[in-house]
């Protein structure tokens, strides 16, 4: 029996060979249980070792393998070829990021944005370890849990029309991360983070398209984080105006 195959059209870009990218076509053996990443690995291992992309865990948790698959930002280790079979599938680098090589994009800006929102517990006084844990009930964990599930895959940035227009925009995952700490009962750093979130390129840039939450593979719902932050910064801003020491903790 002849092996079933499937065609992949893959963006190639090699800085040494000039500024233009091009599409390369590969036929790979097809099995029902193959993910897109398996096909890329087949190409790299057996056809063209110069094909370049990132991956590691192949279980949807390390966040490395995000690419555009037929125009949508997806985790290639969790996207099955059978979704597209027998039609060819097009693999491109994540949109809205500078490309380093083939399917590898530059993450520097994203990392800088994560750091900007001060993603660590901020407290006036840190207890010594000997004093034991800060108590936190399961309900208090639930308040921020969803926003702590982000794997930094950047799919939401690729889907975000605002980030595409304005690279200064803090972006969905960074805002979700700020919310994750703001909503954590152990943290007292909200006002410091609000300084970053409250500027034009923070939450106010967002026009609520909501694509970020649609493409997020981990149901983080960054759009909800942005919405909540808008509401709470507005009310706290108003409260602070009438009652100056509220709104800070």
């Amino acid at each position: 029996m002849a092996e079933e195959t499937m065609t992949l059209r893959v963006t190639r870009y090699r800085p040494e060979r000039g500024p233009d990218s091009y599409l390369d076509e590969f036929d790979v053996p097809y099995r029902e249980d193959m993910v897109v990443l398996d096909a890329l690995n087949h190409i790299k291992d057996d056809i063209d070792g110069s094909l370049t992309y990132r991956w590691s865990c192949r279980m949807g948790v390390c966040g490395s393998c995000g690419m555009m698959v037929n125009g949508m930002p997806r985790l290639t280790c969790s996207t099955y070829l059978r979704e597209f079979h027998p039609e060819p599938v097009v693999i491109e680098p994540l949109e809205s990021f500078p490309v380093i090589r083939d399917l590898v994009v530059d993450m520097t800006d994203f990392l800088e944005k994560l750091r900007e929102v001060k993603p660590w517990v901020i407290r006036e006084r840190e207890d010594a370890v000997e004093e034991g844990e800060y108590l936190q009930t399961p309900e208090e964990v639930d308040r921020y849990k969803q926003f702590s599930m982000c794997i930094n895959c950047m799919l939401c940035y690729s889907a975000c029309p605002v980030y595409a227009q304005d690279p200064e925009f803090l972006g969905p995952a960074a805002i979700a991360l700020a919310s994750r700490y703001n909503l954590d009962s152990r943290d007292q750093g909200r006002s410091e983070r609000d300084e970053v979130l409250g500027v034009d390129t923070g939450i106010w840039d967002c026009t609520f398209v909501g694509e970020c939450s649609v493409v997020c593979p981990k149901d983080v719902d960054p759009a909800a984080a942005i919405q909540r932050t808008k509401v709470s910064t507005t009310t706290r801003g108003m409260l602070a105006a009438v009652w100056p020491h509220r709104g800070r903790r």
Partner: protein, 569 residues
């Protein structure tokens, strides 16, 4: 060539590396600390850890009980002084992570919750649902961002240690952006490079787990300890090798054979599903041999059944298991049993270190899965590894920081020359090499198959001897490799070639150490030497690099308060 100067270089941004970086940063604001990693830190393999981190924090627990369980689990090969340090410092590390924001699962009163795990006699595994490693890693990474003195070199691949005048004085690393070698100097170099599960074909390990740090130390003359002890986890998904966490059994899941029977009653009735991993993996292989397994396209398997736990428990305690099984098997574990088989998971062995992470080479330290302290001996208990990364990561970070504050400056010129010759080697042997036609992937696949066959759950003299020969033959073939990719920007094929070089060295230590350990202990089970022989082998193996392959020596096991006894459950 660019030289980058730091006081401390940490290779690896997983749990051990990040914990070490923060610990070192807290010793002194004067220290410049480099965190070098071949992937962005939050991509490190720690992210995949599911079940939890072991620490005696429960009311019914004690340090001695945790120590005893660990030592018995290790089949008495763990160094008991190391275990005592480990159990004493684990609870503090759990609280430290809590203070840094780790979303540990909680009891209704707000205290940290613990769950049952294999080989632990009370509930002692702290967890964050079943994404413990993910939360732990992101908490550490995010906390590390607070320290300006931790300077990251992301997507730098370390290719060799720079050893000058008997001291490790830095590393040579290629920046993936341009494939040029950077000379990174330091007074202390800490290897936190994780495990090497990718040497086997069927593994839970991520693509990056190629044993690089082990190979770097080995080539620099530092022995690799207890490399024959490879942990097979009893429950991996056939085909992909994706792990079904032990927490699924800790929460009450069953292992069932094709007769619908919980077969562990024939093997370890006192513990059943909560027995240690080596014993459970052997039991599954024996069930397969008896014809009690199911047949599938990716080999024989048994069932992990969690249906009786109910949807609610599964969703609160094992949501990731449900997600993974849905995404990667296409069934829902709430309604169907999960196919599982034993899968390579963890290396008990690693770079030989003392209790503060120092190796025999001055200036070189190690911690985490890459190191062997040894608390795991011949078999690690599930959930002890994350805690080990925290405890010994913190210890090595502090120690390296203190040592760096006292150390003489690095002799810059000679070290830079070493890095320059490393650059020449990479260009000559890879990027501009002529001839050769071996593909990297072909050699890698054959290596993985050889290890799978020769150093599996059950081993024999013959299987190990064949594996030794196979690895040597592959080493020959490696000389004839040729890269398709000669570009300098983000050359992942060059990285793969260097990783394969490391895998070959590490593989040789595994099969050679296994061949000469003619007894069965913990995960190392010899059909031809079925019993444990304390007279000859209550010893750590040490593999030293020589031009003819590894030379194996032995060293004593440290016994403090728990005299070796029969391992009974």
């Amino acid at each position: 060539m660019e030289t980058i100067e730091h006081d401390i270089v940490i290779v690896g941004g997983g749990a051990a590396g990040l914990r070490a970086a923060i610990a070192a940063a807290e010793v002194s604001p004067q220290l410049s600390i480099a965190l070098v990693s071949k992937v962005y830190p939050m991509r490190s393999h720690t992210v995949s850890a599911e079940g939890g981190a072991g620490a005696a924090v429960g009311g019914d627990d004690s340090l001695d009980l945790h120590a005893f369980d660990t030592i018995r689990g290790s089949d008495y090969l763990a160094d008991q002084d190391a275990v005592e340090v480990f159990v004493a410092e684990s609870p503090g590390e759990i609280v430290q992570l809590e203070h840094w924001g780790c979303p540990w699962s909680r009891e209704p009163d707000g205290t940290i919750a613990v769950r049952a795990f294999g080989g632990m006699s009370v509930n002692r595994t702290v967890f964050a649902a079943d994404k413990t490693g993910f939360h732990l890693l992101h908490t550490l990474f995010q906390t590390s961002l607070k320290y300006e003195r931790i300077v990251r070199h992301d997507e730098f691949f370390v290719t060799s240690l720079l050893v000058e005048d008997g001291r490790c004085a830095g590393v040579a690393a290629i920046d993936l952006l341009d494939s040029e070698v950077r000379c990174i100097t330091a007074k202390a170099v800490i290897l936190c490079t994780g495990g090497c599960g990718r040497i086997f074909s069927f593994t839970t390990n991520a693509a990056i787990n190629t044993g690089d740090g082990m190979a770097l130390a080995y080539r620099a003359g530092v022995p690799l300890e207890d490399m024959e002890f490879v942990q097979y986890h009893p429950t991996g998904l056939p085909g992909t090798g994706i792990l079904m966490t032990e927490a699924s059994r800790g929460e009450g899941g069953y292992l069932v054979n094709n007769e619908g029977r919980r077969f562990l009653e024939d093997y370890i009735p006192s513990k059943m599903e909560l027995g240690p991993r080596d014993i459970l993996s052997r039991a599954i292989i024996q069930e397969i041999e008896k014809g009690h397994a199911f047949q599938g396209p990716y080999g024989e398997y048994v069932h992990l059944d969690v249906r009786h736990l109910g949807e609610r428990t599964i969703d609160t305690k094992l949501p990731f298991v449900r997600e993974l099984v849905r995404d990667f098997v296409g069934i829902d574990p709430v309604h169907e049993p999960i196919p599982v088989r034993p899968v390579v998971h963890y290396m008990m062995g690693g770079v030989d270190t003392d209790l503060v992470g120092r190796t025999r080479l001055p200036g070189l330290y190690a911690a985490g899965e890459a190191a062997c302290v040894s608390i795991n001996g011949a078999n690690r208990l599930g959930s002890n590894s994350l805690s080990e990364c925290l405890v010994f990561g913190a210890r090595v970070g502090r120690k390296a920081a203190e040592d760096a504050l006292d150390a003489q400056p690095v002799p810059g010129n000679p070290v830079a020359r070493l890095a320059e010759s490393e650059q020449e080697r990479l260009v000559g042997s890879y990027l501009e090499k002529d001839g050769g036609r071996e593909r990297i992937a072909a050699i890698r696949r054959d290596l993985q198959a050889a290890l799978e066959k020769g150093a599996g759950v059950f081993r024999t003299e013959e299987s190990l001897r064949d594996a030794v020969m196979a690895v040597r033959a592959l080493r020959e073939r490696y000389r004839a490799i040729s890269l398709d990719d000669r570009g300098r920007a983000f050359n992942t094929e060059l990285v793969a070639a260097l990783e394969l070089d490391n895998m070959l060295d590490v593989a040789e230590t595994i099969v050679t150490s296994g061949l000469v350990r003619r007894e069965s202990r913990g995960s190392h089970t010899r059909r031809d030497h079925a019993v444990r022989e304390d007279d000859r082998f209550l010893k750590h193996s040490l593999a030293f690099a020589t031009t003819d392959g590894p030379r194996i020596e032995y060293s004593d096991v440290t016994i403090t308060r728990w005299p070796p006894a029969e391992r009974k459950y």
